[in-house]
Point group: C3
Chain length 367, copies 3
């Protein structure tokens, strides 16, 4: 339980209304509670919301007028995160002392930090290193030589092949596979010969990877995800890809081999990237795009094949006007036929006049 | 072994042919057997099929003429399901008494019904509840506080995060992850700050979820899949999504955060849905659609962006006629040039006639 | 350590430069090492590469001129694979004697070859057979009656449902699910009734399947992947699909129920195939295609819906010219208006001349 004023101070905001209001928790606007705090960023529903029995609200200066008890901040969502974390810290269980579950299967050569947690049925290969305060969820498997940094969390059922390296403060969700062989074959008459995939994977600090993703090991060097990048579920990162820092990639997107994606890119879901291309920093790639060529710094693209977003939108809009265009072309054809007919009539009459002996000595023959 | 007459009675159908025919099992039309029963719904191949050595057939009144021994019903596929189930019940093993495998790792606070089955290497957290006749497949992991209803089946390797709730008669296939964090971050200059995902997931009764799916937990409330809905493999359901009842979603489709899908919808594979939109009941969304806005009741859409199916088909057809349209436009340009030339000739000759002293007092100057 | 000449003999190539050069390993061109060997196929960067301190290179006759010490072959990538394998064989650990980890859970009826390896926490059901030299990775689950041939590798966390059959020299990567129920339901007023999925899956020899794939069991018969076919990660193969031999399928592609794909096809990533269609041998299907109908032998298609690649490219190009086409149509309309106006002027003047008593007895009335 916090006073509204205390929460305002926590986030550097300003109270409008009852600064002594007791706030017992946080909630969404879909399930409001009169003793909880929520947040509002966009004014779309502000008027409507003011009718329902809200508790406190973190919101912007502009929207504050509609509600009785608010904390005014520039970035309500960000402030709300801090408030959530404050409440969540209250209910956090005692910090667990590190342990290795008796049902984990650990190679004797593995080095597991004292504060690390290894849950039941985890299988840890030779020479694995797990840093302080990291946690490996139940039924995960870490191959030979895997290194996990500090404060990283692997949820249940994460599968990491040998020699991959995971940084600090990394989160990897369940079912994700890191370090499987890249898809490399050389066709021969007898069949496809496997190109050995002997590289590895490096996941830098503060990366979060969703559930059921695949990050393949490189053929020869390293597949790299640089620090602070976040992947949603079922994202496919092929061998030799390099993702920059602080890039976010939504679910079910796939990036083909050796492609390089810059820093601070935002990539929508179900997008696909050809191999061996380079995407500039701060690019925005819309959901379901098909990216087949390099993109410069700060590109904003969409569509198949991906083109500058404004162009794609224009082309799409015109595509949906094709029935109209076809009608216009038909009208033009009809009109042209009429005109052509009329013109022929005129020309014919003129010809007849001439033939009828008119004074036409100056006139050149018709084309 | 059943007589054809017995099977007809089971499905409320009518025998045409030998009612005493002994049927020993069921088969597909691709691998027919003279002592088995199969089903046929569509007449496409009826004539052809009548040549191969079939056993009995469940089919419609209309198609019955082509075959000697048939059960006539209105819905052959549905009747065939009942017949399959009848045969399968013959070979069912003794009902297994509930058990917890000695290699399962069960928190002492978990409540597991006596008739439930917990297979080897399952890891079950604190306060988990598993209802009567439910089964948890080998190597599955149920986080703290997970509740599984009665008669539900989790196949091997299902991974469920804490506090998710699964109803009765639910089937979840291998590799599916339920309750991983939704993809929520607030960008800051220093990087993306994680928006805590503290909601949960509710899967209602009679839902079936394919293999390697992801159903994320809500940020604050609940991600919900209502009763009777069926998901194919690798379907992505983001945080806060609500799927109605009896909706079917084919493989590799993704639904973004907070989107609501109605009841009795049919959604093809590899479709994508933007977040925060609402899809009306009984809507049909074609495979590979990109749905970016609300859809009313009984919509039928396809394409990118998804539009009414008839419109999409028309636009697509016209798109493929673009080469033709371009030719038409070229022809129009050429014809127009000709006409323009001809007209200029006429006008010129007229002008000359006038200049040559014709009687043209009434004529206004040309534009 | 090999002399360049020795490696050249291994691959049937010809040395240009120092045949006695000592080569200690292999590397990529991105991370060159003066004592290692790499390969180069395309001349794009040859001139540039000649400046960096390379060791030896396997390349073509044409590109050999740019580098001091090379092995000349027709197919550099294929030769490089042989060289890699030669080096890798040097560092291979002693061939491991077969074993079953004490923490594996094996049904007593299972038959496991003496040279096979079963890692920790693997769960093996009744009547499973595992052939000589095969390996089942940690935390994998093999259902009742699964058969694994010889020399096959299942990486950690592979989940195989009952009665599926895996051939020899097969590789299956982590998280892949084989034999889950196909997506088959019969809609009824009360909800979707499950069509029992009682078929199985057959994976033939030399198939490789990526991570987190799904290969569903057939409803009644068998889902089959013929020999030598290679699937990338997250590929969805629905019930009753039959994939030919030596076909390669890139990541995130989905093939719907009962579709048949020929031999030696090449299928890009994120493509989708409708059910019940047939794709001819040696067809090439571009990434993100939507294939909705049969394709003949040696098809080369792309787009949505997939059409012959040349046609798709042309149509796409014209789509992006729509803004231009619209301008052209507008110009045509304007020009036509002008001409029409001019024509009306001419006709009007002609009419007036006639009305003014000209000699026009031969002229028919205007249309």
């Amino acid at each position: 339980m916090f006073k509204l004023q205390e929460l305002a101070e926590l986030v550097g905001g300003q109270v409008k209304g009852n600064a002594d209001l007791q706030v017992s928790g946080f909630c969404s606007l879909d399930n409001p509670s009169p003793t909880s705090i929520s947040y509002l960023e966009k004014n779309k529903d502000a008027a409507k919301l003011s009718d329902i029995m809200l508790g406190a609200l973190v919101t912007t200066d502009q929207l504050a007028q509609y509600f009785p008890d608010v904390i005014i901040v520039a970035n309500p969502k960000l402030a709300f995160v801090s408030i959530m974390e404050r409440f969540l810290s209250l209910t956090k269980p005692e910090p667990v002392v590190g342990y290795v579950h008796e049902r984990a299967v650990i190679d004797p050569s593995a080095e597991i930090a004292e504060t690390a947690i290894v849950e039941a049925n985890v299988v840890i290969g030779a020479d694995v290193v797990i840093g302080e305060h990291s946690r490996v969820g139940a039924n995960s498997v870490l191959g030979k030589g895997v290194v996990i940094g500090q404060h990283s969390i692997l949820y249940a059922g994460v599968l990491i092949y040998g020699c991959c390296e995971i940084g600090n403060h990394v989160i990897i969700h369940s079912g994700t596979v890191i370090g499987a062989d890249g898809f490399g074959f050389v066709p021969t008459k007898e069949g496809h010969r496997k190109f050995p995939q002997v590289g590895s994977v490096l996941i830098e600090d503060h990366v979060e990877i969703g559930a059921n993703c695949c990050i393949d090991r490189a053929s020869l060097d390293q597949t790299v995800i640089h620090s602070g990048t976040k992947l949603d579920n079922m994202v496919q990162i092929a061998h030799g890809v390099r993702l920059g820092s602080n890039t976010v990639i939504a679910a079910q997107t796939g990036i083909s081999g050796s492609t390089r994606v810059g820093n601070w890119c935002v990539i929508g879901g179900q997008a696909g990237f050809q191999g061996h291309i380079t995407i500039g920093d701060q690019s925005i790639i819309a959901a379901q795009s098909g990216v087949f060529s390099d993109l410069p710094f700060k590109s904003k693209v969409s569509g198949y094949p991906a083109k500058p977003h404004a162009q794609s939108l224009k082309v799409l809009a015109l595509t949906f006007k094709l029935p109209e265009l076809v009608e216009k072309i038909k009208s033009l054809e009809i009109e042209l036929d009429l005109i052509s007919g009329e013109l022929k009539g005129l020309a014919k009459r003129e010809r007849r006049r001439r033939q009828a002996g008119e004074q036409t000595p100056l006139i050149t023959p018709e084309a």
